[in-house]
């Protein structure tokens, strides 16, 4: 079926994503921040679906929203956040933050102004049915070496995490 009402879904999902992103920063309670981040992750997964990347969207939900964020929540529940909620939540690095925000804003404006010339409209969508298969071929073909390195990285991360978090080894 052809895409229906794409602008509506784009605005809905992007509003949710940005709201979640802002809430991550402004909420004092770390659990609320985590939930806001989950909302952002889910809406970004929805945007992936709109961008003809169903497999990436599925993996985003399973790995990011269902794996990594559970880990975050687990750690938040382990530590006592009552004390940090009473403390000052923000740093005094306002000037760096404002500089970064201004620089990024300038970047956005320039991208938005120049985008018509830089990125001409290309109507053709990506093939969605064979998406998973194509990604598999890429992963085990072109990017074989990177894939192996990534698995090694994960192994190192597992060992490192166990070594650091365990009291007695």
């Amino acid at each position: 079926m052809n895409p229906v009402a794409t602008p509506f879904f784009f605005y809905l999902l992007s509003t949710l994503a940005i709201l979640g992103g802002v809430m991550v920063i402004v909420r004092r309670n770390a659990v609320h921040s985590a939930i806001a981040l989950i909302v952002t992750l889910l809406s970004v997964a929805g945007l992936y679906l709109m961008l003809y990347a169903p497999f990436v969207a599925g993996v985003q939900i399973i790995v990011y929203a269902g794996g990594i964020m559970v880990l975050f929540l687990f750690v938040i529940m382990l530590v006592n956040i009552d004390r940090s909620m009473k403390e000052r939540a923000f740093n005094k690095q306002w000037w760096i933050a404002i500089a970064a925000a201004v620089a990024l804003g300038a970047l956005f404006v320039s991208v938005f102004v120049k985008s018509k010339g830089l990125f001409p409209e290309r109507g053709l969508p990506l093939a969605e049915e064979s998406n998973t298969q194509q990604i598999g071929l890429y992963l085990y073909g072109n990017y074989m070496f990177a894939f192996e390195i990534a698995s090694l990285l994960l192994l190192v991360a597992i060992i490192g995490a166990v070594v650091m978090a365990k009291k007695r080894i």
Binding site: V31, I35, P54, F55, I61, A65, L73, I76, L78
Partner: protein, 346 residues
């Protein structure tokens, strides 16, 4: 191809039917469980309300609605209210991509017996079930009670751990079917070997994967023998200690709806979906796939209840060791062997 209006109308009708069937099935699974476990323990189970206690679910529902909805003063209120909603929403959503039978033809239009045929259906189900853990974890945290917190911690650790073996056990099936779409996976299991053995995945060398799936599914749905998040002898009632009336009922419904999803998934992935012997007139042949599907789901649910009446609860360290040191290596070995066999015979 349907037009967008018909598509929407058909989708709404299908969603309503699926929801009603799911919730009724949930209610009667509870009745079945009480009855079967009762008989296993030399009791009668519910007998008073209606014949064989068949109206017991209605009475239970009425009781849940009429009880006082208590909110303890020390809880984190927004999350305390949100947690059961999250649990129930994700538990019920996963029914959306499950196919129940072959497409039927109504008024000359082909209508699949599935709310949405998605080409990454299996991934969506895995994603939705993995989101379900938030309901439990947040309920445990927001109740602000040490038993609830322990229950929530246990639930999140347990579900994340067993999700890995669950996912790995499904990959063998995916290799055999070559698709993420649940409908294609079922279609790949039609036919028979040597005239009488059905070509279900469980008979195609995936019996070990089925065992891994079974164990992980019990852990994912927090059922005995892995019901540590709500172990009543240690944690009062775990994550839902502080919940009462309808909020508790939402956790209850989500637990049984999750069981239903797991049973449907097992039927689709390992037990051949709606395939079974076909006979009789055309009308019977149209209904038979649904009957086979329901029968297989029922058998799986009965197994659930049987196990509940038979096995004792694991200790927490045993649970973790079982998941990480036994199921995970077994799942990887099964995956490697399946891949080798498929590559050899291809």
């Amino acid at each position: 191809m349907l037009s967008i209006q018909t598509f929407l109308i058909v989708a709404v009708i299908k969603t309503l039917i699926a929801l009603v069937v799911l919730l009724t099935a949930v209610a009667y699974t509870v009745w079945l469980e009480r009855k079967v476990v009762g008989h296993m323990q030399n009791r009668w189970g519910p007998t008073r309300v209606g014949p064989f206690g068949l109206l017991q679910p209605l009475a239970d529902g009425l009781k849940f609605i009429l009880k006082e909805d208590l909110t303890p003063p020390h809880v984190n209120k927004p999350l305390y209210i949100a947690a059961p909603i999250i649990a129930m929403v994700f538990a019920i959503t996963s029914i959306a991509v499950i196919p129940f039978g072959n497409p039927i033809t109504v008024f000359g239009k082909q209508i699949p017996l599935q709310i949405a045929d998605v080409n990454i259906g299996l991934l969506i189900i895995l994603g939705i079930t993995s989101m379900g853990v938030y309901g439990v974890a947040l309920a445990g945290w927001s109740s602000n009670n040490k038993y609830s917190l322990l229950g929530g911690l246990r639930a999140s650790a347990q579900m994340v751990s067993y999700e890995i073996s669950l996912g790995l056990s499904l990959i063998g099936v995916l290799i055999l079917a070559g698709s993420f779409s649940l409908k294609d996976i079922v279609d790949a299991q039609s036919g028979v070997f040597w005239g009488f053995i059905p070509k279900w995945n469980i008979f195609q060398g995936q019996i070990i994967a089925f065992f891994i799936y079974l164990c992980s599914a019990y852990a994912e749905t927090n059922r005995i023998p892995f019901d540590l998040p709500e172990a009543e002898t240690e944690l009062v009632a775990g994550y839902h200690t502080e919940y009462s009336s309808m909020k508790f009922a939402m956790f209850f419904i989500s637990e049984y709806a999750n069981m239903m999803t797991v049973a449907c998934l097992a039927t689709i992935l390992f037990l051949g979906g709606w395939h079974g012997p076909m006979f009789g007139p055309a009308l019977l042949q149209a209904v038979l796939p649904l009957v086979w599907f329901g029968l297989k789901v029922f058998c799986f649910l009965f197994l659930y209840i049987w196990v509940r009446g038979t096995l004792p609860r694991f200790r927490y360290d045993q649970l973790m060791a079982f998941g990480w040191k036994f199921l995970l290596p077994l799942a990887i070995a099964n995956l490697v062997i399946t891949a080798l066999v498929v590559a050899w015979t291809a």
